[in-house]
Each structure stands twice: as C-alpha cells, then as structure tokens.
Amino acid sequence: MKILTKADVWLIIFLLLFAFVGIGLGLSRLVTSGSGTLSAQISVGGKIMQTVPLREGYRQEIEVKNGDHYNTIEINYGKIHIREADCPDQICVRSGWIGIATQQIVCLPNRVVINIVATDSDLDGIAR
C-alpha cells in the first residue's frame, strides 16, 4: 500500500530543512553570544524578579514562588539550574545546568523563565 504522495515528501523535506536551519541559527547564537559578564534573569509571568551574576565562586540558592508553586534555583560554578520544582512535567529540572548567554530554562506550569544575558562592559564595546 503506497500512502505517501509526492507532495508529502516535499512537505517533509521542507519542514526538516526549516527545523535544521532554525536549530543551526539557535546554536550559532550560542557561539557568537557576547563574552562579557554573564548574569541570569529570573522572571515569573514576564516580570523580572531577580538578576544574579554568574561568575566562578558565586553561590546562591533562590526559591521563586508563584502563588502556591515554587522553583528552587541553584547558582554555582558560573552556572544556573532549577534543582527542584513542584511542576507536573519537571521539564525545567531536566533541562539541567546552563551557563552560556542566550540559553534559557523554562518552567511553563509555574511561568518561570531563566534567561542568561551577557552584559559587555563599555570598554569591550569601544575596543570592538
């Protein structure tokens, strides 16, 4: 039984191409992201609650609350991860440690987003 048509095959090729180009763009953002001072923005429901520095030797543990829900965030070794959360899918916990600018961790059920941003110092800006 032949099911797939020519149009199906083109559709699959086009979608795969689109996906791989998108993934490539995302990865290239990681490589070309600024190498200035890194910090992590922790936001809940779109509001930035806290910005923490990500540098060697800086340790912190933060508990973010959204109503009855919580996410326990740990910062260490210049990286950040969500150690524990009460969300049903645990996707945020399984995302693991991140430490490169433009990387993100998202906990949709609790509406928590962690973004890593590079803030280049002024000197770097001029030197470029």
């Binding site: 199906d8 996906a19 995302g26 993100q104 998202v106 949709l108």
Partner: protein, 177 residues
Amino acid sequence: MDIRRMVLLAFFVAIASVLHVVEAWLPLPFPVPGIKLGLANVVSLLVISFYGWRAAVVVAVLRVMIGSLFGGTIFGPAFAMSMGGALVSTMVMGYTYQYHRPTISVVGISIIGAVFHNAAQIVVAALLVVSAGLLWYLPYLILFAVLSGTGTGFTVAYILAKMPHHFMAKSADIEKS
C-alpha cells in the same frame, strides 16, 4: 441529529480524552517545553474524514476540557496551550483535508496538524510567560512534530483502510440495507 452519529462522536470524544490523559504520563526524551506526541490528533483526523471539520472541532474542544479535568490541569497554562494547539491544528487539518487531499495524503495532513499543534502551543506558551525567547524552541518542536505526525498519520491511514465502509453510515441507511 442522527443517533448513530451522536453515539460515535461521543465515543470519539471518550477515546480522545483518554489519549490526552495517557499522553501526559509518557516520558519524552527531550526536555523541551510544549513537546507532545499528539496521539489525540488521530481522533481529530478520523472525525474530520467521517463528519467534517466542524464536528472535529467540537470533539477537540470537548476532549481538551474532559482530558484536562481528569489530568488535573484544567484552566492552567497547560490547558490554554492544549486548547490553542487543538483548535488550530484541527482547523488547519480540516482545511487541508477538504481542499488538498488527493495531493497531500492523510499522513501529510497529520504532519501539518502536528506542526501547527506544536507551533500554536509554543506561541500560547510564549504569551503566557511573556517571553519571545521561547520561539527558539520552535525548530525542535517542528522536528519532533514531523516524526510524531508521521506516526499518527500512518495510524490514521491504517484505520481508514481497515475500517468497514458502513461503519460511519447513517443509521437510516443501515436499516435499509
């Protein structure tokens, strides 16, 4: 309303609701927000082919409501995402089924449905957490949707090929024959 049609639609709502709940239990290997197998898309596509897109949208809405009620996620972010994904994907599949079918097979339609399901979900999610950065997950979701959509598409093609023709007939027609 035809009784046979009514009963069968209720039966499809029940199957889709169960798939919706069970799907949430299955662990997926990639920690990407909004990623889903989309098993309930099988039911949406079957209903489209038997009763048209309007009936399929009704089944999809009921499925998300009942499935979320049993899954304990009703009116949460996951509910909004499922509803957005189900509505968009069912309507897009209905349109493609009606106007592009011999050219695009049910497998292609299923892939399109899966892609739009995931795309709509991640857009709703981006709105919920007010972060456009979530759209960077879209390529991963599309990649996964092509795989899962192919799987559900072949399931639908198999069911349509094996199902007796009179199964979806009106009750009056069956009494006549």
